[in-house]
Symmetry: C2
Subunit: 433 residues, 2 copies
Amino acid sequence: MERFIWSDLDAAAKLAAIARPTGISDASIIEAVTSIMAAVKMRGDEAVQDYTARFDGVTLTDTRVPDTDLKAAWDALDKNDKAALETAKANITAFHAAQMPDTIRVETQPGVMCRREPRAIEVAGLYVPGGTAPLVSTTLMLALPAKVAGVTRRVMVSPPGKDGKINTAVLAAAYLCDVTDVFMVGGAQAVAAMAYGTETIPKCDKIFGPGNAYVAAAKSLAAQEPGGPAIDLPAGPSEAMVLADKDANPAFVASDLLSQAEHDTLAQVVCVCTDTETADAIEVEVLRQLATLPRREIAEAALKLARMIVTDTREATLDVVNAYAPEHLIIQMDDPDAMTPNIRHAGSIFLGPWTPESVGDYASGTNHTLPTYGAARAYSGVTLDSFIKYISVQELTQQGLQNLGPAVERLASLEGLDAHRLAVSLRLKAMTS
Amino acid sequence: MERFIWSDLDAAAKLAAIARPTGISDASIIEAVTSIMAAVKMRGDEAVQDYTARFDGVTLTDTRVPDTDLKAAWDALDKNDKAALETAKANITAFHAAQMPDTIRVETQPGVMCRREPRAIEVAGLYVPGGTAPLVSTTLMLALPAKVAGVTRRVMVSPPGKDGKINTAVLAAAYLCDVTDVFMVGGAQAVAAMAYGTETIPKCDKIFGPGNAYVAAAKSLAAQEPGGPAIDLPAGPSEAMVLADKDANPAFVASDLLSQAEHDTLAQVVCVCTDTETADAIEVEVLRQLATLPRREIAEAALKLARMIVTDTREATLDVVNAYAPEHLIIQMDDPDAMTPNIRHAGSIFLGPWTPESVGDYASGTNHTLPTYGAARAYSGVTLDSFIKYISVQELTQQGLQNLGPAVERLASLEGLDAHRLAVSLRLKAMTS
């Protein structure tokens, strides 16, 4: 891991030490995705099938997975896997259900009643990647909050493997989470299908989920179109920052750094440590644990970009955190929760020695869909709110309009919008005639 | 107004009757904006000054408006205008303050503590358009929620007029709302300056506010960049849908339709009426009130696109509303609030005869920054939440990890992520050694 002594760095060197990789968006990807999306918009299912044949190497005449297949996948699952999924489901459901918003009502002045009412999104599109690891956890993290929020139609798409099927564990998770529609389609063509709708895949109001650069580009392009779907979050490589002091257990810290590193060769791994000897011990542990990992090659590639930042104080450590705005922040320091109030930007925080990042990835109850690449400065991860929107409502009594009307007339005049003023004036006049 | 009899229409004709205008995005605009943004990214203030000279026709060496100018603008304001702004401020503040979220805490299973903590965005960029009407109300609707949420730096930009100044009423509103930084810059160059930061204009975490097609394109392009700012809402022409039945006052309905029509030649104006005679009377009133409006030409152009949809029943009326997902929905029907629970998609609802749209535009307390072009299907308007993001936090006790750990190990194995499993296993082992 490249080591930086924070107090030795000037402002520019500090920025460089926590810089993210550049070049993560690519014009050739945008071009390819634009053409895929145009084809799906124009030719619907037929285009989806063509791209599935080309990119996934399978010919499917029907992309819908029958409900009976979902149930069969669940039934076939090992009972310990079932129990683990049920534990995760219970915790994720409990944490997101506690986020259900109430209607807020305020009488802002006598006779002027205002409210904010929540409404669930109607059709949510949930993208579950295929690839090297079957992402059962992504299925849970998207489908369960959608159901808790009251989303009517919870549409999941995931690319078929070479056998023309979605991974069985992912289908079992979809069954457990009561997904309403599952389609075997992945990549930009899946996002396009959810954005525009096809003969079989419903048009979705909002599209959620991680994916490769093509999926990310398709989501971003879809969201920009007039009348296009909303999306959950901008995409970027996954990241973890671990904070450690002299009391941290180097093996625990190393295991969290490696959990991040094994995700992806582009995964960002940063350790901030207030003690040089502990930093040394952590690096030794990283190498020791790395040696036997099945995904060692991926982790090794990610570790080439990894950084160890040595700080003097807790305050300096907080400066690093807030400047970086990490997706995952694991705090293995004395009195870790004393840091929390001063952390302004992070996706999810993991406190103390017994809270590895992997508990949040799977089953503590928090959502693992989190802002990357510094987006934690302005974005939340997926929460129940991601599946809800608000309608404001106002109702004035006659007295309320008498109270408020003169101010509205004045402001409309100030803006030179006479019809706005008139809408109040003729009502006030009608009251007295 | 073009009239449609809803029950006579087949599905395709219904969609056509509520279709929005196409062609609102334009490749030539994207191209121009891309080049402006690249120049501001590269050359900072110098580029901003060049574009201000070119587009606004004024040469400014310093774009910052001194605090003393803000105070002077407020002091110079007519006392009735001050009182109207103060009324609006009090109501908007009260409604948004009631939306302040608390930390949510759930012990999802014994020893597994999860929380969701709100944090204000740090630097918000607020775009206040110039143009034909000085948008004092936009200043209030953006700056007040930002302050209530606890946003540290509330940066407002607005284009200078030919006199090299921002409209005095807008500056007075900025003073009243305690905006921390005001800059005289508009258009795509203002958005670029907030997205990248310049020598004088701070880089903003999120950019808010309406604007012309160039401003909208710049916001959208900025939000797509890796590490780019978040934005509030996608932009589209403003819209109002008014629902009326036989008891509606045709003059009131007409005044709300005209409030919308006077905004912009592209403004969308739709009336849904359950009674043909009332529909006729509304159209007569529209023409009568139109005759004396100062902004008649704009309103007339917008009315060319206006639609009158005649329905048979309240249920059919609800179908039209939910299919259209209007930005503003004004309900002048018997027992209007009985409709609300069945309205799934709308930006803001105005109930009954004494609640013209203009009260919400200015001063009832609700926010006037609302989703257009059907975006109400997936987006909220600006609420306090627009200035807040959430951090999830979890802390497991030793017992908590003993309870939850086995499920996490199992799920990590199911996904083939061995380092994720190991992060739990070595901790469980450490407990017993």
